[in-house]
């Protein structure tokens, strides 16, 4: 019987319109293969490789936009209607994230082209690793199954370890990649142990089944120790990805030791992917709760994330204080921002409640804004590093005179990172605070207070850089920077202004994608072996 089922499954492998939903990921893989083949046919030059990478990025971007369009017009799409299986989910959330990821990938490739392409002898390897981690991240946001989540996270992590220590003669890079890899391997192993416990308790790898089991367990009032252990162990892996305290130790070291374009890539893409994954998991937990009145059952989970968020935010901001290296300071700032974004994830709302997607919209808007803030700030830092050879805060002194077109975007990005108006960072924080406030619970107000206090704390160390750029001047020579780099950072700064004054379109757009999140289909109890049964019915 079992064999027969599998035979049927093979005979009915989805093709055509289903595969179209995976076209962005397939294109990423094809680009990687093309870059592997390229040295044989066209040579290993930076120019050739970057050309192929650019073609791949454009193709992926167009296809990702098409998938995004398909998910918003047709509602829930093809494969995602499989109840409970959730091995691969294509919906507004995953498609939206993929589009963002590709935009960011283009920005990072641009930075690499400006800074490293001239002296880089291993360009094909660099792009294979970069695209490999991008593939893993886009898989992370499209799965609700423990197996797929684990595989996706490893696909994202393994190339990241290697790319951090990409320059073989760089001692700092070697050290950074070792620390990143050791931390990552430990967290992944603990996460897998947690996954095995969850599988043992529920007999299923589907997150929906695990959520149902958890809610039923909490409803009967018996607090299953093994279940809590499994969930916590699993959370360790995700917390590592978003660099939540106390799993953040890799973050400053890896960010400081890596090349700056790699740092830029990891600071946004890897964290955002982890956050969107966590958001999807919490949404599934919320949607399996019977009625809005029962939401208090999963409050322990919300509090776990809330405390993680509060601690991450505070530790990140306090550690950023004493940093002399701007790269390292931005690393701690990215930890703090991961904390703010975790706060948006901690907004648990039942799908039946009006306005339940507030937390989700806030997170997506924040990720969009955070992308531009970080790309801008790291872009300016990159150009200082290329010109002066170090990223010490002293190299920024007198930047207003030495390079006004770098200093102004840097100020805009830093003020936006603090979250002050009239810049987009304010909008991002404002909507997270609104979402928290709309909960009107102890948890919500607790996080609001933590977020506001942290914003005040963070003001100091961001302003330290601004003061260094404007008020201190030690007579250093003017900074020579490529025109392309100036364009990149100024576009980012401009985007931050535009997004503040034209914030509403962004919100309505993300809101529309949020509504297509495929939660409804996951709430229906899954029959045993959902995928196989679906294919048998099709016969």
């Amino acid at each position: 019987m079992n064999l027969l089922m599998q035979a049927n499954l093979w005979a009915n492998i989805p093709v055509g319109e289903h595969l179209a939903f995976f076209s962005p990921m397939i294109t990423l893989v094809c680009t990687m293969l093309a870059i592997v083949a390229c040295p044989i046919v066209l040579g290993r030059g930076s120019r050739t490789t970057a050309g192929i990478a650019l073609l791949g990025i454009i193709a992926t971007f167009i296809l990702a936009l098409r998938v995004l369009h398909a998910t918003t017009t047709n509602g829930v799409s093809g494969l995602s209607t499989d109840p409970g299986a959730g091995l691969f989910i294509v919906d507004g959330l995953s498609a939206f994230f993929q589009v963002l990821l590709i935009i960011f990938l283009a920005g990072v490739t641009w930075l690499w082209w400006l800074g490293s392409s001239a002296n880089e002898r291993n360009a094909p390897e660099f792009f294979i690793l970069l695209f490999g981690s991008a593939l893993g991240m886009s898989m992370m946001v499209s799965s609700a199954n423990l197996l797929m989540i684990v595989v996706a996270m490893e696909t994202a992590s393994l190339p990241s370890y290697a790319i951090v220590g990409f320059d073989k003669r760089d001692r700092l890079g070697a050290e950074a990649s070792l620390k990143y890899m050791v931390f990552g391997a430990i967290c992944a192993a603990i996460m897998l142990y947690g996954a095995s416990l969850l599988y043992g308790l529920t007999g299923s790898l589907s997150v929906a089944d695990i959520a149902r089991f958890t809610v039923a367990n909490l409803a009967t009032g018996e607090h299953h120790l093994l279940l809590a252990l499994g969930l916590l162990c699993f959370l360790v892996g995700i917390a590592f990805k978003v660099s939540a305290v106390p799993f953040h130790f890799w973050c400053p070291d890896a960010f400081q030791g890596a090349k700056i374009e790699v740092t830029t890539w990891l600071s946004v893409a890897s964290k955002a992917a982890g956050l969107v994954l966590l958001l999807r998991l919490t949404m599934i937990f919320c949607s399996v709760v019977g009625s809005p009145a029962d939401m208090s059952l999963i409050q322990p989970l919300a509090w776990t994330i809330a405390i993680l968020a509060a601690v991450t935010c505070t530790v990140g901001n306090f550690s950023a204080y004493k940093q002399k290296s701007v790269k390292r300071m931005l690393a701690y700032s990215s930890i703090a921002h991961a904390g703010y974004m975790l706060m948006a994830v901690a907004v648990f709302a039942h799908p039946a409640v009006e306005g339940h997607q507030a937390g989700m919209v806030a997170l997506l808007v924040y990720i969009v804004i955070y992308l531009f803030m970080n790309l801008g700030a790291f872009g300016v830092t990159a150009m200082i590093v290329w010109d002066t050879g170090n990223d010490d805060i002293k190299s920024f002194s007198g930047l207003m005179r030495r390079a006004p077109f770098l200093a102004v975007p840097m100020i805009i990005c830093l003020v936006s990172l603090v979250g002050l108006p009239p810049l987009a960072g304010f909008i991002g924080k404002w909507w997270i605070l609104l979402a928290l406030g709309s909960l009107d619970s102890t948890l919500g107000w607790f996080l609001v207070i933590v977020a506001v206090l942290n914003t005040l704390i963070s003001l100091y160390y961001y302003m330290r850089v601004v003061v260094q750029m404007t008020l201190r001047d030690e007579g250093d020579p003017a900074v020579q920077s490529p025109f392309g780099g100036l364009a990149l950072v100024n576009i980012c700064a401009l985007m931050l202004l535009i997004l503040f004054f034209r914030a509403h379109p962004l919100k309505t757009t993300t809101d529309r994608f949020a509504r297509t999140l495929n939660v409804a289909s996951l709430t229906t109890p899954s029959p045993d072996n959902a995928v196989a049964s679906r294919f048998i019915e099709a016969d």
Binding site: V150, E154, E175, A189, R328, N529
Partner: protein, 112 residues
Amino acid sequence: MLPDDFLTYLTIGLTHYLVVGAVLFVTGLFTMMTKRNAIGILIGVELVLNSAGVNLVAFDRYMAPGRVDGQIMTLFVIVIAAAEAAIAVGICINLYKNLATVDVDSARKLQG
């Protein structure tokens, strides 16, 4: 004298596998925490990964008979462990070339 239900203890059941898994997990965790050698830490990681593998197969056999999810996941765990070891050893060799040691305590240039 042996206890009456001695034979039931001898029959290998789920608990035995879980105990093996838990022992592997704790040993691995202990190794990861105490070893200062990067390769030693990796051995600890492999132990923990294998404890997950043992658990998955055991749970699959006893808790969810007829389904193969756990066994498939174990195969993936093995592949992940292999991939991770490949990358990790590469990074260790790179560290050795630069610092002439794989002691994680010697990697202390990045701090603060």
